[in-house]
């Protein structure tokens, strides 16, 4: 990074540190903070959408759909996320390639499962083996997002399911009295009002999601924990210009600070959102806001 970094053995103190902290590996560590934030930014809305679908299915009047929704909520919530991550990504990857194989190579005669091997035609590979490395990384990241979204979608579905039930029955009855259909009452009355009931649960879910991100490395994504472990481990002078003893404690301390700050920022933001959403709602908090505005 800096010009004086060419010969780290001669350096000491702060100059050494400034070189050490700007190696390519450290840059990868800093970049992985971005990966984690990006994952959160994509996963949260996806999980919410999945949760909404799951909750709507669970309260559906069509029995099989309702069973499916409840099954999804119950099963995925019942499994520890780590156990799920350890086999689901490979299963998902193979599932996608299997489907593509059926579409792209209909005349393929050899079996897909050959002993232990999972063999699809090369046109069905995801991504193609000729694709550049960054495409593979994006694909891996995409799989991680989907896996996270499925797990947290189930929790979100559970929260939204409760929130939909919490909207006062009288509101729906009024909507029906005005001649709205079931669909209209759902979209125009129930959905706009349920968020305030869902918010405490969803905020907590967000906090849990933040704290689940250290598991990303299980999904093959090189995240902050991966790099912190890699960089923190003791290094001998033969393999690096910056030998040091076991420094994992300092790296994990930095991660700890990152998570604490991130949690705090989230708390403040969610607090504001709660105030905003309470406006004009038929709840105690909404009533308090109304009174404060009129007096």
């Amino acid at each position: 990074m800096f010009s004086y970094c060419t010969d780290p053995d001669t350096l000491s103190g702060l100059t050494w540190l400034s070189c050490y902290l700007t190696t390519g590996k450290h840059m990868a560590l800093y970049g992985s903070f971005g990966t984690v934030l990006l994952l959160l930014a994509i996963t949260a809305p996806t999980a919410l959408a999945l949760g909404f679908v799951g909750a709507s299915a669970a309260r559906s009047h069509i029995a099989p759909l309702s069973w499916l929704g409840k099954f999804y909520i119950a099963i995925v919530r019942g499994v520890p996320d780590i156990a799920f991550f350890l086999f689901f990504v490979i299963a998902l990857d193979q599932g996608i390639e299997y489907l593509r194989h059926k579409l792209r190579c209909p005349d393929w005669s050899e079996p897909i499962r050959q002993g232990n091997d999972f063999v699809v035609c090369s046109a069905a590979k995801m991504p193609l083996s000729t694709a550049p490395q960054w495409l593979h990384e994006i694909y891996g990241f995409g799989l991680a997002v989907v896996t996270f979204a499925i797990v947290f979608g189930a929790f979100a579905a559970n929260v939204l399911f409760g929130a939909m039930r919490a909207v006062p029955r009288a509101q729906i009855e009024t909507a029906e009295a005005y001649g709205m259909s079931r669909r209209q009452a759902f979209w125009r009355v129930l959905v706009p009002q349920m968020w305030i009931y869902a918010l405490p649960g969803l905020s907590n879910l967000w906090m849990v999601l933040i704290k689940a991100t250290p598991l990303l490395f299980l999904l093959g994504v090189e995240d902050i924990v991966y790099w912190a472990r890699e960089l923190g481990g003791a290094k001998t002078a033969r393999f690096t210009s910056y030998p040091h003893p076991d420094w994992r404690m300092w790296y994990f301390l930095a991660l700890l600070v990152f998570y604490l700050v991130f949690t705090r920022v989230s708390e403040v933001a969610l607090e504001r959102l709660t105030r905003r959403l309470s406006r004009g709602q038929a709840t105690a908090a909404g009533e308090a806001l109304r009174k404060a505005a009129t007096t």
Binding site: I90, Q114, G115, D117, S129, R229, R238, F239
Partner: protein, 239 residues
């Protein structure tokens, strides 16, 4: 016009590259001197140089991928990369699931590392640390000593330092540089011959690629360039 010709030439070139399939090499990147990430975050080490040379000889375009050790075989058989080159000893259990090329290192003995001054340790009646799910862990369990397993190699060495374990059992070429540079740690004279040599792992259905790499390794053995690499990185006896 000149531009146009150049572009078509470039296209033809890249098409030619695409024809020669890219071979993806999976490694762990946490096991010096075999494979590790250097300061720039790139795969480096004995196997990096070896793999690049093998690909050059076999006229393949190769790409390096890092993968967690625990899932390195499942990801190979499911097709996420085409070969494992990660310091993997050839064992019977692994042979049942994947195929290996011929070995490119001599069988590497495993060594015990203890706190300096504790060289008189009787390992059969001691607490031995090993990384979870390694051949060394299985060996210690067999031997009947007290086994204590840690998730990463770093933790096994910390365990010896903190007194949680009396010794750590791991590959000698991994422990030797550590014992050399740290005055408070030293190796026991006793070695254990556990694994076979190290080879590249490939899918059983990928016979053609296995033969290609096998031939490339043979040619490196024949002209002595493999021995040079082994000496350079100090990964055991030469052939």
């Amino acid at each position: 016009m000149k531009n146009l010709i150049l572009t078509t030439a470039a296209l033809a070139l890249s098409a030619g590259f695409a024809m020669a399939d890219t071979v993806r090499l999976g490694t762990e990147g946490a096991y010096p001197p075999f494979n590790f990430l250097n300061d720039d975050g790139e795969v480096d080490g004995f196997e990096r140089e070896l793999g690049d040379e093998l690909c050059a000889r076999a006229e393949l375009t190769c790409e390096w991928v890092t993968n967690d050790w625990d899932s390195i075989i499942p990801n190979l058989v499911s097709g996420n990369y085409d070969a494992i080159i990660a310091g993997m000893s050839i064992t019977d259990e692994r042979e049942e699931v994947i195929d290996f090329t011929q070995n490119y290192t001599q069988p590497d003995p495993s060594a015990y590392m203890v706190l300096a001054g504790n060289e008189g340790l009787d390992v059969t009646d001691a607490v031995i640390a090993a990384q979870t799910n390694t051949i060394q862990a299985a060996f210690v369990a067999d031997m009947g000593a007290q086994l204590v397993e840690f998730a990463t190699p770093d933790e096994t060495i910390s365990a010896v330092r903190s007194g949680e374990a009396d010794a750590v059992l791991a590959d000698k070429s991994y422990l030797a540089p550590i014992a050399e540079e740290n005055a408070d740690l030293s190796l026991l004279d006793r070695d254990e011959l556990i694994g076979g040599g190290i080879g590249m792992g490939l899918r059983e259905s990928d016979e053609e690629l296995r033969e290609t790499f096998d031939a490339a390794i043979q040619s490196m053995k024949d002209d002595g360039s493999l021995n040079e690499l082994i000496e350079k990185w100090d990964v055991g006896e030469t052939f």
